[in-house]
Symmetry: D2
Subunit: 262 residues, 4 copies
């Protein structure tokens, strides 16, 4: 078992970026040929949080230990998983290009095979997880979005109409004109993916609570993705919300999907 707290100068973004890596006990075992690699779950935090959220607020390290998988938890600051509309910081490029390349160069026990890689996130991280998988379908075997408000075009429109649009949303997304139809619009990405005629991306797990403000938008997004031909595994929670719910959901994703795959 090992935990690594890594800080490195990311060339794409010219900032020092932080991440946490959890490696299960099996890395300490002698290995005949040195070639076996660990399955990896990339775990994305919500806006307002940081790379330590998942380990501090859920049982995911315990679940990962039991399932013998690695966790990679990047710090994405207040980026909303965007190349910022204002301020010029290409956070998503860092996440999807810099980070996997540098991390695998650094830590050799992580598998880079598609069937061994999974991505999940909570809140803005759930939006980012789906986006990353739709943009890089060759990289992930499955993705999970927890209370992700994955259709950020609809979310932005709602906030504009309700007068609740905050500075961090504007800094990240700009306005709906800019976002809709762009490579940061998950439904647009899904339509493009469906139109290729290739085998659709792997199952999309969407979990949300009826107490989430974004509940109905996520339910609608689930229907839209299904109509496009995606396999959507939906979990709608009636009573619970927040970390107790998300902790249970990530445990379920690890046990039934991440550990089961292969």
């Amino acid at each position: 078992m090992a935990t690594l707290r890594i800080k490195f100068l990311a060339t794409s973004i010219q900032m020092q970026m932080h991440l946490l890596v959890f490696l299960p006990e099996s890395i300490a075992r002698p290995n005949a040929n040195g070639s076996s690699r660990l399955k990896v779950l990339w775990l994305l935090h919500d806006q307002g949080g940081d790379c330590s959220d998942w380990t501090r607020l859920s049982m995911v390290e315990h679940d990962a230990q039991r399932a013998d998988i690695a966790l990679v938890m990047p710090d994405m600051a207040h980026s909303m998983y965007m190349n910022m509309a204002h301020g010029g910081y290409p956070y998503f490029t860092y996440l999807s290009e810099d980070l996997p390349r540098h991390l695998r160069n650094l830590v050799q026990v992580l598998s880079d095979r598609r069937e061994d890689n999974f991505v999940a996130g909570v809140g803005a991280g759930g939006y980012g997880a789906l986006k990353w998988m739709l943009r890089s379908p060759q990289m992930f075997a499955a993705c999970a979005s927890l209370s992700g408000d994955v259709d950020r075009v609809a979310a932005l429109q709602h906030k504009q109409a309700a007068g609740t649009l905050t500075d961090d949303w504007i800094a990240a997304f700009g306005d709906t004109t800019r976002l809709a139809g762009s490579p940061d619009d998950n439904l647009q990405l899904a339509r493009q993916r469906a139109a290729t005629g290739e085998a659709p991306a792997p199952a999309i797990h969407l979990a949300f609570s009826r107490h989430d403000e974004s509940c109905q938008r996520d339910a609608q997004a689930a229907r839209n993705l299904q109509q496009l031909g995606f396999v959507v595994r939906e979990h709608e929670e009636a009573t619970r919300l927040g970390w107790p719910y998300w902790s249970e959901r990530i445990g379920d994703f690890i046990a039934k999907t991440v550990a089961a795959e292969r």
Copy 2:
């Protein structure tokens, strides 16, 4: 002796902000009345760095231990010590208002008397140190700027003319029109301060190397500040540059100014 790594939710900026605090050995000594407090040096990092730079790259912790003073090293991300022109994050408000109040509420051994508080920084942190002192002259007994390029109006004009203006400068400062004459223009702050007729702010320590790109601008700023009536202690270095130079300079500031005051 103690070191504290603190993360707290800053209300001004609605983000979790990090800082490092170093406390010297004297805090472990029993204290008759519990009322004695430590002198504090607030230490600001450069753009591209973080709150760990000063301890990792200089001998400042050793110097602070010997001088029996506390160090407070906030993380200011890529803010350039600005309330960002783009993106809406009021980093400077966090630094100058939230941070002192919350930290002193949390850690009671830090003195809040003016004669016990000092601020210094390197690069963008040197610009920030002078700005903070000029805006809050009742808070600090002295400030030091190391290779600080303290006249950011001149710096911005230079970068625009030279075609070297980067996104992080635009995100922080906007353009010269916005910056010049604003409360983020150190020379304007100095003129306002001089015009009050009150006793001028305490001595301003400016150190820079002839190898700094900003060398001539800092030399000019020193002359301008002197003409306004400020006591400027200037150190111009002919041969060295970077951390070996800055480490020596901060050691000198601690030994001759911070430790000597009272």
Copy 3:
């Protein structure tokens, strides 16, 4: 909300000791007179673990946030919560004397009133929690031991008989001759406490799983403590074990005991 990672030179043990402190969101609220203090739960890790175990492996930070209490999680290395029989390191003296004094000197928002302080631990930390409370009944309103194997005399005898006594136990406890009847023998401490005729110590919460190797010893210890007049709240778990069980138990202790008290 704030988290502090503190390292300080402990005078009792002449080592730099680590601890984690969690403070809930209420510390950020302005406070009329500055006098209100937070309830504190002191949380002790198991042998082989460290001060980060509780936040990483359970939901306790989430529970503490909801209940508006502080958590203090000291690092006790491989001490078994003993002044080591071999090697001369007085870890328990550090925990019970140095730590509270220094921490309260440093972080002023922690209440030092008995009715606001609670101690809990898992494994060796559960043994340590009960010992600390029995030795310092004026300090804590309640204690909880999770799978604590609290009667270490019986545990040591069992290990000697079974031939499973390991070096770390010998280094910490020496042998049964040394331990039995000493101030590290919880049942002896309980008998002494009962014999004073003073009001007995507050309720002792003992939780253990039938899957714990120490299950029957903890059940017996519960009966012994009850016979001595202590109020023992026992929770015996039939099916679960490990962190999912402990996480639920600490959440229950926080919700029903720590938050309820006053």
Copy 4:
């Protein structure tokens, strides 16, 4: 550039051990064949310190960046670089066997060639650095001991005679009877090494200050090692002591030996 804070369960010692790794900027550069590896300086802290001492108290990270080498800084607690005489913790086995194997398995950019590996330490870490090199001469190209009091048999005898033998020395070394002539006696290791008739181990750098209590013992050890045929590079400092001296010495070792080798 990257820094890694690693915690892993060390099988030899059955404890979670910490270390810091610094990697210079070159790791971010694209590499044609991926095969080039970094030179490594293993840096050992003094008794009473921890793995963060070198980065916090010296300029070594700056020096390593300039010389383009990696630093590995393990945490050795209060072990004195011994398999403890009392308490049963095999810290030196962890350092010399577990750590290199696990770390190179984890972080692939570190060279494992002899000419690329160097070891240095301060105080007890200086003793440990020489011991590690004498026990594993196939692993290191050079070693440096700073104020290392490298002949711990002489040191122990002195402390016994002077009545200044402290618990931590007894816990680590036991008594002189146990230590003299054992594999923890550096001069005995040197005699054995010399007797093999093989090429002697590489140059031993010994630096000490006349202000060190152990000054004369280190000077005597230097003479003894030279008589055994070792190349000893000695640096005796007349005026300075402590971290300013050690920081300068490690910078010199990096610039003239680590960077020069090949």
